[in-house]
C-alpha cells in the first residue's frame, strides 16, 4: 500500500512537470509562428496606430520575451489561465463551456469503438476463415477513410435523407450519435486489429490449452481467459487515444457544428489568441497526464503481476 502511495505521489509530481512543459511548448510555438501577433489577432486589420499600440501594450507584447514568459508562468502557477484576446472572456470560462461536449463526444466515440472492436476481435481472432479476412479488410478500410468524408456521408444519409438525427444537435443525445459514430469508425479498425492480435497471442499460450483441456467452451475461453490478456495493449492505446480525443476533434466538430475544444483551439491558433491556446494546452496536458496515471493503475488491476514490476 505504501509503495502505491509513493508511486502515485511521484507520478503526480511528474504530471505537474508535463503540464508546465506543455504550456511552455505552446507558448514557445506561438512565438515562432510568423507575423505580428497583434495584427493577426485583430483579424489582420490595419488598426489605427493608437489602437495598435494600446492593444500591444495591454497584451504585454511591448515587454521582452523572458519577462512575458515569467509572467505567464507566474499566472499559470497561481491557477490563472488569463483572458482570451479575441473572445474577451476568461480562458477558464471558455474552456469550461466547451469541455463537457468534448468529453461527451470523446467517451461516446471511445465506448462505441471499443464495444464494436471487441466483438469483431473475439468473433474473428485465430480463425482462418473468410470472416476474419473480411473483418480485417473492413477494418483497414475504416482506418484509411478520412473522418470528414465519413461524417458527410453519415449526415447525408441519416440526417438529410432519413431525418433520424439533427445536422447540428448541440448537446442532445440524438445530436451525439452521428459525430460519435464518425469518430468511432476511425478507431474501430485500430482497436480491433490490436485486440485480435492480443487475443491470438493469448490463445497460443499454455493456459488456454489447459483451459480447453478442462472442457471450457471456445467462447468462454476467449471471453474469460484470453480477452484479459488482449486488453493490456488496448489499455495502453486507450490512454493515448482518449487523451487526444479530449484535445478536441476539429473536423468532426466542424462538420457537425458541435461545441468543443478542437474548434476553439483551431480558431485561437489562427487568431494568435495566446492565452486561449496555452489554456487548452494546459487542460489537455492535465487530462493526458491524469489519464496515464489511471491507465497505469488499471494495468495493476488487469494484470496483478504488474504490481511487482511497476514501482
Amino acid at each position: 500500500m505504501r509503495s502505491t502511495t509513493w508511486w502515485l505521489a511521484r507520478r503526480l509530481a511528474l504530471a505537474v512537470l508535463v503540464v508546465v512543459g506543455a504550456a511552455t511548448v505552446a507558448f514557445g510555438a506561438l512565438q515562432l509562428v510568423p507575423g505580428d501577433p497583434v495584427h493577426v489577432m485583430m483579424g489582420g486589420a490595419a488598426p489605427s496606430e493608437e489602437v495598435y499600440e494600446r492593444t500591444r501594450h495591454e497584451l504585454g507584447y511591448d515587454q521582452p520575451l523572458p519577462v512575458r514568459y515569467g509572467e505567464f508562468l507566474g499566472q499559470l502557477l497561481r491557477g490563472d489561465l488569463g483572458q482570451s484576446y479575441q473572445l474577451h472572456q476568461p480562458v477558464a470560462d471558455v474552456i469550461g463551456s466547451q469541455l463537457w461536449p468534448t468529453v461527451q463526444l470523446a467517451l461516446a466515440a471511445f465506448g462505441l469503438a471499443f464495444v464494436v472492436a471487441a466483438a469483431l476481435a473475439v468473433t474473428t481472432a485465430g480463425r482462418r476463415s473468410g470472416w476474419r479476412r473480411v473483418a480485417s479488410a473492413a477494418e483497414l478500410l475504416m482506418i484509411s477513410t478520412p473522418g470528414f468524408w465519413v461524417g458527410v456521408l453519415l449526415l447525408t444519409f441519416f440526417s438529410f435523407r432519413l431525418h433520424l438525427f439533427p445536422v447540428a444537435g448541440g448537446d442532445s443525445l440524438a445530436g451525439l450519435v452521428l459525430p460519435a459514430a464518425t469518430l468511432a469508425i476511425g478507431l474501430i479498425g485500430v482497436f480491433a486489429q490490436v485486440m485480435r492480435e492480443g487475443l491470438e497471442r493469448a490463445l497460443e499460450q499454455p493456459f488456454v490449452l489447459s483451459a480447453r483441456a478442462r472442457g471450457t467452451g471456445e467462447t468462454a475461453v476467449r471471453l474469460r481467459h484470453a480477452l484479459r490478456h488482449a486488453l493490456i495493449p488496448m489499455v495502453t492505446l486507450s490512454g493515448w487515444i482518449v487523451g487526444s480525443l479530449l484535445g478536441g476533434a476539429v473536423l468532426i466538430e466542424t462538420i457537425f457544428s458541435r461545441e468543443g475544444l478542437g474548434r476553439i483551439t483551431a480558431t485561437a491558433i489562427a487568431g494568435r489568441d495566446l492565452p486561449l491556446v496555452t489554456g487548452v494546452a494546459v487542460v489537455a496536458a492535465t487530462i493526458f497526464a491524469l489519464l496515464n496515471i489511471a491507465v497505469d493503475l488499471l494495468y495493476r488491476v488487469i494484470d496483478p503481476r504488474m504490481k511487482e514490476v511497476v514501482r
Binding site: 489605427s48 494600446r54 474577451h88 461545441e259
Partner: protein, 560 residues
C-alpha cells in the same frame, strides 16, 4: 474603416471555421452600413399574403462573431445579428434614402459640421432604461473611446468631435470636418444605440450580453453552436423604412453557426433550418429545382472583389504592363465557368449596387489579348524564355500575388488560377501564393507583393478614398496598402467625402472610377453577392442595401 484580413466579413464569405479548420481569418471585407433594402427582382412574392405573427426562425450562417459589441467588432455577421438587437438614429430605404428611426427629425448646419437630432419619446431599452440624448452620447463616446479599441465603429465616426445633449430629446453631434457619409454611418448597426446602463459594464459583458432597444432581445449565445434572440413585445418604434409598425412577427431568431457548406445546405434541404447564407454556387441549381425552397440573392455594394496593383515597384510601376494585365484576363468566360452565372463580373472597382457606381464603364475594357501583347512589346518585354514567359534584360516578367490561405474561399482560388492561365497566354508569369495569414500580413506590411486581392462591403463610393487616398496608408488604419500618392485621386476622393453637394460627389466618384481603370491601378474581378436559400414558409425576408438580411418584417407562413 478597417482592412480585414479578417475574423469575419461575410462577403468575405468568410467562414469562421471553414470545413478546413482554420478559416477563422477571412479577408478583407466587409462591414456594412445598413441601408434600405432592395433587390425586389428576387424578393419572394410575399406581398399578396397577410403576415401572421408567431413562430421561430432558424438561420444557419457560415460565420460566427467573436464579440457582438457593435462598438468593437467589425465583422458582417455581428452587423446582421446586432441589427435585430439595436436601433439606430436613422433608417435607410432601398434607394439609400435616409428616414427617421430613433431620431424623428434632424437638421444639418450650413458648414456641414453639426447635426442636430430630435429624439423619439417613449423608447425603452431591454433593461428598462429609458432612451434619451444621454444614451446617444454614451454610445458614440463608447465607440470612439480608445479603451474600446473599436475596429470599425470608431472609423464610422472618424470626424467625430463630440455629442452635446441639449435636452433629453435633443442632441447635437459635432464633427471636426464635414462628412458626407455621416448619416449613412449613423444608420449602421455598428452605431446602434446601446443602453447607457449597459455601457457601464465590462468589455466582456458588452461582447457577450448586448442590451439595445431593438425588436429582438438577446437571450443566449453558446459558442460554436448558436445565438438566440427573442421578440421584444414592447417594441413600438419600428424604423420608417420598414414595412410594418409594432413588434416583429417572429417570436424569435436562432442564428446557428454551421460553417461546413455541405452540412449547411443539407440542413436547409432537410428542413432543419429555415434560412441559410453562402449557398455554394454549385448547389444553386439544386436549390432552384427544389419546389419547397426559394433562392434569393443580392449583390453586395462596395469594392468589388478586385486585384489592387502595386504601382510602387517593377514591373507594375509601368502603366503599360498594368493595362496589359487588365486586358489579358478573359473575365466573362472565367466568371461564368467558376460561378455558373451566380456572381457577375465587375466592370468598375465599385459594385453596381454601390451609391456612386459609374455604369458608363460597362463594356469599356473587354478582354483583348492582342492589345495586351502589343502593350507588353511596347514596354520592352519582348524576349521569351524557355517556359514561354516574357523577359527584359534577362529578367522574367513575374508578378507576385499573395493571399492568406484562409482567405481562399468562394472559389477565389479557382478564379486566381484562371487569371494566372490567362496571364500566361500573353507571357506574364503570375505567381499566386497562398500563405499563412501571419506570413501574409508580414508581406503586406513590408509591401512585398505586386497584387493584393480582396473586397470591402460598404454602402457608397467613399470606399475608394479608403483604398486609394494618400492619407489612408496601412499604418494609419487605412486601406491604401501600397502607399499610392496620386494627387488626382486625392483631390477627387477627398472632395467627394466633404462636399455637401450631391452632384459633385457623384461626379467625383465616377471620375475616380474612370481614372482607376484608365491607369489600370486595379483589375476588378467579380461582384460579391449574398446568396441565400430559404424555405417557402419564410416570407418577408429582406435584403438591406448592404445586402445583409433583415428579419424585422419576416414571418412564417403556417400554410406552407
Amino acid at each position: 474603416m478597417n482592412i480585414r484580413i479578417q475574423g469575419g466579413g461575410r462577403h468575405a464569405r468568410a467562414i469562421r471555421r471553414t470545413s478546413t479548420v482554420l478559416a477563422a481569418l477571412a479577408l478583407t471585407s466587409v462591414t456594412a452600413v445598413a441601408c434600405g433594402s432592395d433587390d425586389s427582382s428576387d424578393t419572394p412574392a410575399a406581398a399578396s399574403a397577410t403576415p401572421v405573427a408567431g413562430g421561430k426562425l432558424t438561420y444557419a450562417t457560415v460565420q460566427e462573431p467573436s464579440c457582438i459589441d457593435p462598438g468593437y467588432d467589425p465583422s458582417t455577421v455581428t452587423g446582421v445579428i446586432d441589427r435585430n438587437i439595436f436601433d439606430s438614429l436613422v433608417s435607410q430605404t432601398a434607394t439609400g434614402e435616409t428616414k427617421p428611426w430613433l431620431a424623428t427629425s434632424w437638421t444639418v448646419s450650413p458648414d456641414g459640421k453639426t447635426y442636430r437630432f430630435s429624439l423619439r419619446d417613449g423608447v425603452t431599452f431591454h433593461d428598462g432604461t429609458a432612451f434619451d440624448g444621454a444614451a446617444v452620447k454614451a454610445t458614440f463616446d463608447h465607440a470612439v473611446d480608445p479603451e474600446t479599441k473599436s475596429l470599425y465603429a470608431a472609423a464610422l465616426l472618424s470626424a467625430y468631435q463630440e455629442t452635446r445633449v441639449i435636452d433629453p430629446r435633443t442632441i447635437e453631434v459635432v464633427l471636426t470636418r464635414p462628412n458626407a457619409s455621416f448619416l449613412q454611418s449613423v444608420g449602421s448597426p455598428f452605431l446602434g444605440i446601446q443602453s447607457p446602463a449597459s455601457l457601464e459594464r465590462s468589455a466582456e459583458e458588452l461582447c457577450t450580453k448586448p442590451v439595445g432597444s431593438g425588436a429582438f432581445t438577446f437571450v443566449s449565445w453558446t459558442k460554436n453552436r448558436d445565438l438566440v434572440l427573442a421578440k421584444n413585445p414592447a417594441y413600438q418604434w419600428a424604423p420608417d423604412a420598414a414595412d410594418h409598425d409594432g413588434p416583429a412577427y417572429l417570436d424569435g431568431i436562432t442564428f446557428q453557426f454551421i460553417s461546413d457548406d455541405t452540412a449547411r445546405f443539407g440542413a436547409l434541404t432537410s428542413g432543419q433550418v429555415n434560412v441559410i447564407n453562402n449557398v455554394p454556387a454549385a448547389n444553386i441549381r439544386a436549390l432552384k429545382a427544389n419546389g419547397s425552397l426559394q433562392y434569393l440573392r443580392a449583390d453586395s455594394p462596395g469594392l468589388a472583389y478586385s486585384l489592387i496593383l502595386n504601382t510602387g515597384r517593377e514591373p507594375l510601376s509601368d502603366v503599360r504592363v498594368r493595362r496589359a494585365l487588365l486586358r489579358s484576363v478573359n473575365l466573362d468566360a472565367l466568371v461564368e465557368s467558376v460561378y455558373f452565372g451566380e456572381y457577375n463580373r465587375a466592370w468598375s472597382l465599385l459594385s453596381p449596387t454601390t451609391i456612386g457606381y459609374d455604369k458608363s464603364l460597362e463594356g469599356t475594357w473587354k478582354f483583348d489579348a492582342a492589345l495586351a501583347n502589343k502593350l507588353l512589346d511596347e514596354a520592352g518585354w519582348t524576349q521569351r524564355d524557355g517556359d514561354g514567359f516574357r523577359t527584359k534584360d534577362g529578367k522574367r516578367l513575374t508578378i507576385v500575388w499573395r493571399t492568406g490561405a484562409q482567405l481562399d474561399r468562394d472559389g477565389r482560388g479557382v478564379v486566381a488560377q484562371g487569371v494566372q492561365a490567362d496571364a500566361k497566354k500573353v507571357g506574364i508569369d503570375l505567381q499566386y501564393i497562398s500563405e499563412d495569414v501571419g506570413t501574409f500580413s508580414q508581406h503586406i506590411f513590408a509591401g512585398d507583393l505586386d497584387i493584393w486581392g480582396g473586397n470591402y462591403q460598404r454602402p457608397d463610393g467613399d470606399i475608394l478614398r479608403f483604398a486609394f487616398a494618400s492619407d489612408q496608408g496601412i499604418t494609419k488604419g487605412g486601406g491604401n496598402l501600397f502607399g499610392l500618392q496620386d494627387p488626382t485621386l486625392d483631390r477627387l476622393l477627398n472632395e467627394a467625402s466633404t462636399t455637401t453637394d450631391e452632384a459633385v460627389r457623384e461626379k467625383n466618384w465616377a471620375d475616380a472610377q474612370q481614372y482607376v481603370i484608365d491607369n489600370a491601378l486595379a483589375v476588378p474581378l467579380t461582384v460579391g453577392a449574398n446568396l441565400v436559400g430559404a424555405s417557402n414558409k419564410v416570407q418577408g425576408l429582406r435584403f438591406e442595401q448592404s445586402s445583409n438580411l433583415t428579419f424585422f418584417d419576416t414571418w412564417l407562413d403556417p400554410t406552407k
